[in-house]
């Protein structure tokens, strides 16, 4: 049994229930109570109460054939009010698709979730089945152009706060990417975009550009990723970066 949370106002049962939901992944979409107990470290009795309750709210469904739970349709709809408040998605969509087609890559728009970036819109200009960025997918901050762009644009106090959270979650990350972050801040200031060359997915290079007008109270970031194998030398910084900056500015003008 994990130790009690030190914060007396923290609702531990709620955290445990949400922790159960995060056990479901693309690779493991169906899990039984026993597997959920193993993954969370919670007792089987606790897990069965949590899955029972999550099922009552439609967040999981019991697949009688597999005798395991899957995420339910509420998992699909619960985030919709947030998506609907991001009008920028509709404004940017056709322009994102156009750029994705033009460079044969992926163009996405992301929002920060504590220590990671979550895609809220994405357009593909390629047909690679192994690389399908999707809405709701989360990527880390320090290794990616999108995350670096967010960190580079943030006011120093906020940047420090987020970096401290990242360090707490993954010790060593901060030092590992210290030079890249300094570079990202310089790039953002001088060129308007930040770069990552294969630090997250080794076969992909990407540029990121922050959207300067806050959306739903947050700074969103646009990125454009292309397979390294499809990039001409210096194409990323000379062509794609400036194109993404242009796209961001044109979207902002229409917000």
């Amino acid at each position: 049994m994990p130790a009690r949370h030190p914060d007396p106002d923290f609702a531990t049962t709620l955290q445990h229930g949400l922790q159960v939901l995060h056990c479901f992944t693309v690779g493991e979409p169906a899990l039984g109570n026993k597997e959920l107990a193993q993954r969370t470290g919670l007792s089987k009795a606790t897990i069965s109460r949590l899955t029972y309750t999550l099922a009552a709210r439609g967040l999981v469904v019991f697949d009688a054939h597999l005798r395991r739970y899957r995420l339910g349709s509420t998992a699909l709809t619960i985030g919709y009010p947030l998506m609907a408040s991001l009008r920028i998605r509709q404004v940017a969509r056709s322009r994102m698709k156009q750029l994705a087609d033009e460079v044969g890559g992926s163009v996405s728009l992301g929002m920060r979730d504590r220590t990671r970036m979550v895609y809220v819109e994405t357009s593909r200009g390629h047909d690679l089945s192994a690389w399908r960025p999707d809405i709701g997918a989360a990527i880390p901050m320090l290794p990616t152009a999108m995350g670096r762009s967010w960190l580079a644009q943030a006011p120093q106090a906020l940047r420090e706060e987020v970096l401290a959270q990242i360090e707490a979650a993954e010790p060593g990350q901060r030092r590992l990417y210290a030079a890249e972050l300094v570079q990202a801040q310089a790039d953002l200031k001088r060129k308007g975009f930040c770069i990552s060359r294969g630090a997250w997915r080794s076969d992909v290079q990407a540029v990121g550009v922050p959207i300067l007008i806050p959306q739903d109270g947050e700074t969103l970031v646009l990125n454009c990723g292309v397979l390294t194998a499809r990039l001409a030398p210096r194409q990323l910084e000379q062509r794609i970066g400036p194109r993404l900056v242009e796209l961001a500015r044109s979207v902002e003008a229409d917000l």
């Binding site: 899957r70 995420l71 979550v118 895609y119 999707d134």
Partner: protein, 259 residues
């Protein structure tokens, strides 16, 4: 939200209450205060405060310090991703849906039922400017749309009865207006293999839908297409597009080994 099972010993009330706070949000109402949560859920202010505090720490809510109002946090979006990304049907259906969307100059979507609504899980559009297409995750009424009707027409008599009852209670006006459409949809599905909706839900837009044969990933999926009305009118579009959607459904079923 307070269902009878909530009194069950097996029920984790704190978890259910926390989820109910997240479900208080609706499109067009992006921020809520503790007072709003308390009013909508019937929970006490201290209970609400404890839950919003926890949900904020976990990234499910964001608190605006200036107004003390809450917005949904990006962590809620992470819940849908494993579900969407593990659906075998999406990558299989997508390229075929794109071809049809181009041919009919409309939008082709794949959806499933969520309580008394339908929800899209994938959409292929002929043009990215076809803005009227609902987003992934957006609730779509059942009785007014071809997709919802197709689901009801394919359902077992028991499921259909139960769903229609729930719709009658929750959306009496929709029920009054469209209840007869279900009988028509069943006849249409039996004779032509698809269901249609003639500018019922959105003006100047017709919908056609086919329920997939057999379940994939434990789910009954429905395929639909939406097209702006054009010359020749509904009858001609129905003749041209309906059978093409049926063919698309067959191809997807075949590719998934359902036939």
């Amino acid at each position: 939200m307070n269902q009878s099972d909530d009194k069950d010993r097996q029920f984790a009330t704190t978890l259910a209450n926390g989820i109910d706070l997240l479900l208080c949000f609706h499109a067009g109402e992006p921020s809520l205060a503790n007072k709003d949560f308390a009013e909508r859920t019937g929970l006490s202010r201290p209970t609400v405060a404890r839950l919003t505090h926890t949900l904020t720490l976990l990234g499910y809510l964001r608190r605006d310090p200036a107004t003390a109002r809450y917005r949904l946090g990006a962590a809620v979006l992470g819940l849908s991703h494993p579900l969407l990304a593990s659906m075998r049907i999406r990558p299989v259906a997508r390229p075929m849906m794109e071809t049809l969307a181009r041919d009919i100059e409309g939008a082709v979507s794949l959806g499933l039922r969520h309580r008394i609504h339908m929800v899209y899980v994938e959409t292929a559009r002929d043009s990215e400017d076809f803005v009227v297409t609902p987003d992934i995750g957006a609730p779509i009424p059942m009785l007014a749309t071809a997709m919802g009707r197709a689901w009801l027409a394919r359902a077992t008599a028991e499921d259909r009865r139960s769903l229609l009852n729930q719709i009658r209670v929750a959306a009496p006006a929709e029920f009054e207006r469209y209840a007869a459409a279900v009988t028509q949809a069943r006849e249409e599905l039996a004779s032509d293999g698809f269901c249609s909706a003639r500018a019922d839900w959105q003006p100047n837009r017709h919908g056609f839908a086919v329920p997939l044969q057999g379940w994939v990933d434990g789910t009954q999926f429905v395929l639909n297409c939406a097209v702006a009305s054009r010359r020749g009118g509904f009858a001609q579009m129905r003749r041209e597009i309906g059978p093409r959607l049926v063919t698309l459904a067959h191809s997807i079923e075949f590719a998934l080994g359902l036939r």
